[in-house]
C-alpha cells in the first residue's frame, strides 16, 4: 500500500528518472509556510493541493510552455477528479519537493501524477493524481487543446483513443 519512490538518475532542468518504473518526473522545491500549518502542528491537508499545483506548473514551465498559453486560447483546465493519499506529515519551514509527471491523455481529458517528498528524510508525504478536462469561457467541454497534447506527446505519453 505504501508507495516507493527512489530517484535512479538526475537529468537536466530538474527532471529525474524513478527507479523501478523508469518514469521521468519533474522536481520543484518549496518551503512550508506557517500559513500552511494547522492546529495539529502540521501542514493542513488541503494545502497539498497547492503543492500539486506548484508541481504541475513547474513541470509545464520546464517543458518551455506555460498554462498562460492555454488561457490565451480562451481555455481552462478544471479538475474533474482527484485523489490524495497521505503517508506522512510535514512541519513548518520544511524544505520539500513535489514531483509531477503527465500520466494519461484521452480525447477529452488528461491527468497528472504527483509525489510530495521530504528528500532529506527520504520520506514520501503525499501522492495522488488530478484529472482535468478542457473547457471554453462558456464552460463547454472541448477536445484537449493542442498545447497540452504537444506537451504530453513530447513527454512520451501515448494518446489513448
Amino acid at each position: 500500500m505504501r508507495r516507493k519512490f527512489e530517484v535512479k538518475q538526475e537529468l537536466p532542468d530538474d527532471f529525474v528518472i524513478e527507479a523501478g518504473t523508469g518514469h521521468r518526473w519533474h522536481r520543484e522545491g518549496f518551503r512550508v509556510l506557517y500559513a500552511d500549518t494547522d492546529k495539529a502542528g502540521v501542514v493542513y491537508h488541503a494545502n497539498y493541493l497547492k503543492y500539486f499545483e506548484i508541481g504541475r506548473a513547474g513541470f509545464v514551465r520546464a517543458t518551455g510552455r506555460s498554462y498562460k498559453e492555454v488561457e490565451a486560447l480562451g481555455l481552462f483546465h478544471p479538475i474533474v477528479d482527484l485523489r490524495m493519499q497521505f503517508e506522512s506529515h510535514a512541519d513548518y519551514d520544511d524544505l520539500l519537493s513535489v514531483y509531477a509527471r503527465p500520466r494519461s491523455l484521452a480525447p477529452v481529458k488528461f491527468s497528472y501524477e504527483y509525489v510530495v517528498r521530504n528528500d532529506q528524510l527520504g520520506r514520501i508525504l503525499v501522492h495522488g493524481y488530478t484529472i482535468h478536462c478542457c473547457i471554453d469561457k462558456e464552460r463547454r467541454v472541448l477536445p484537449v487543446d493542442e498545447v497540452t497534447r504537444a506537451i504530453f506527446e513530447d513527454y512520451g505519453v501515448i494518446r489513448e483513443r
Copy 2:
C-alpha cells in the same frame, strides 16, 4: 458516472433522507467567499476541502458531540486518503449546501462521504470522501477513539472487524 442526489424527506436538526439509498445526511449551508474564487471566475478546487470540513464539523455538532472532545483526549484525526469528483462549478456569493454522513468504521480508520450541492439549481457540484485514522501527540496510530465510535454507532454505521 454522474451522481444523483435527491432529498426524499427532511428530518429535524438539518438531517435529510436521500431518495433511493435511504442514507441519512446532515446539511450545512454556507456562502462562497470572494477569497474562495480563482481567476477562472469559479471556486478554486482546493477550497471544496474546506467545505467538506464544514460538512464534517456540522454533522458532528448535530450529533451533540464535537471534535474538541477528541482533542481533549490528546488525539487527532488526520486524513489518510481522500477523493473528490467535480461535476459543476460555483460562483462568488452562491448559497451552497454541503451534505455529510459517516460512511464506514474499521478498527483503525473511519470515513465520511460528502456532497456539495447548489440546492436552488438542484445541481451537484462536488462529491467525495475522506478516510481518517486516529493518532496521539507522538503521531502513533491508535484504534479509533470511543467518541468517534459512539458517533458512528449511534448513527447506525456497523463497525467492521
Copy 3:
C-alpha cells in the same frame, strides 16, 4: 489603545447600535474552521481578512444589495489600504461575530470598519478598516459607482467632497 465595543441596542436584520459612539453596525456570525488555524493553535492572522470579507458582504446583503450588482456594471472594488489591530486570539470551532459598517465615502474611494469579537466572552479579537477604490476591467480608476454611493448614503454616511 484597546478598543471598546459594547452593543447598546439590537435592531432588526442583525444590525446593532454601539454604545458610546451610536454607530450602527451589521453583525454576521461564523465558526472558525480547522483550516483557519495555524501551528500556534490559533487563527492565522491573514484569515481575519476573510472574516472582514464576510462582514462586508453580510452588511451589503442586509441592505438588500449585492456586490454582484457592482460586478454586473463591469466594475471591481479592490482594496488600496487596510489596517488590522489584534487584541486577542481565537481557537478552532469558536463561534465569532464580525461587525461591519461603512466608514467614509469620497469621490474616488470609500471605506469600511470592522470588529471581530467573541460575543460569549465579550472579547474583541481584531479590529481594522479597508479602503477601496472603484475600477473597470481595464483597471482604470473611476468615481465610486452609484450602487455603492446609494448604500453608503442610505446608511447615513455623508459624502466627502
Copy 4:
C-alpha cells in the same frame, strides 16, 4: 503617497541597498499560484500577507537564524498590528520579489517592513509593515527574546528604550 523603491546596490545572500534611504533589505523571489488569484483575475489581497511571511522568513534565514529557534524556546511572535498599502496588481504566474527588513525594536515589540515588487516591470505592488510581540504558551506577553534581539541588533536596528 506612492512609495518609491529602487535598488542602489546588490549585496551577497540576496541583500540589497535601497537608493535614497540606504536601507538594507533581503529579497526573496516567488511565483504567483493560481490558488492565490480571485475572480477579478488578480492576487486576492489577503494572500499578500503570505508573501510578507515569505519575506520575513527569508530574511531571518539569510541571517543564519530561524523562527524554529524561537519556537524551541516555547515562544511565539503573534502580529499585534499590521498595515498594507496596495499600488498595483499581480497576475497568475508572475515572478515577484518580496523585500523585507527589520524596522524597529522596543522592549516588548518589534516590527518588519515589506515591499512586494514586480522587478521586471519595476512596479511596486504592495508595501506595509507588521508589528509583533513575544508570548509564551500561556499567551503571556514577555520581553522580546534574545534570538530576535540578536537578529535585529546584528542587522543594525537600535533598540528603543
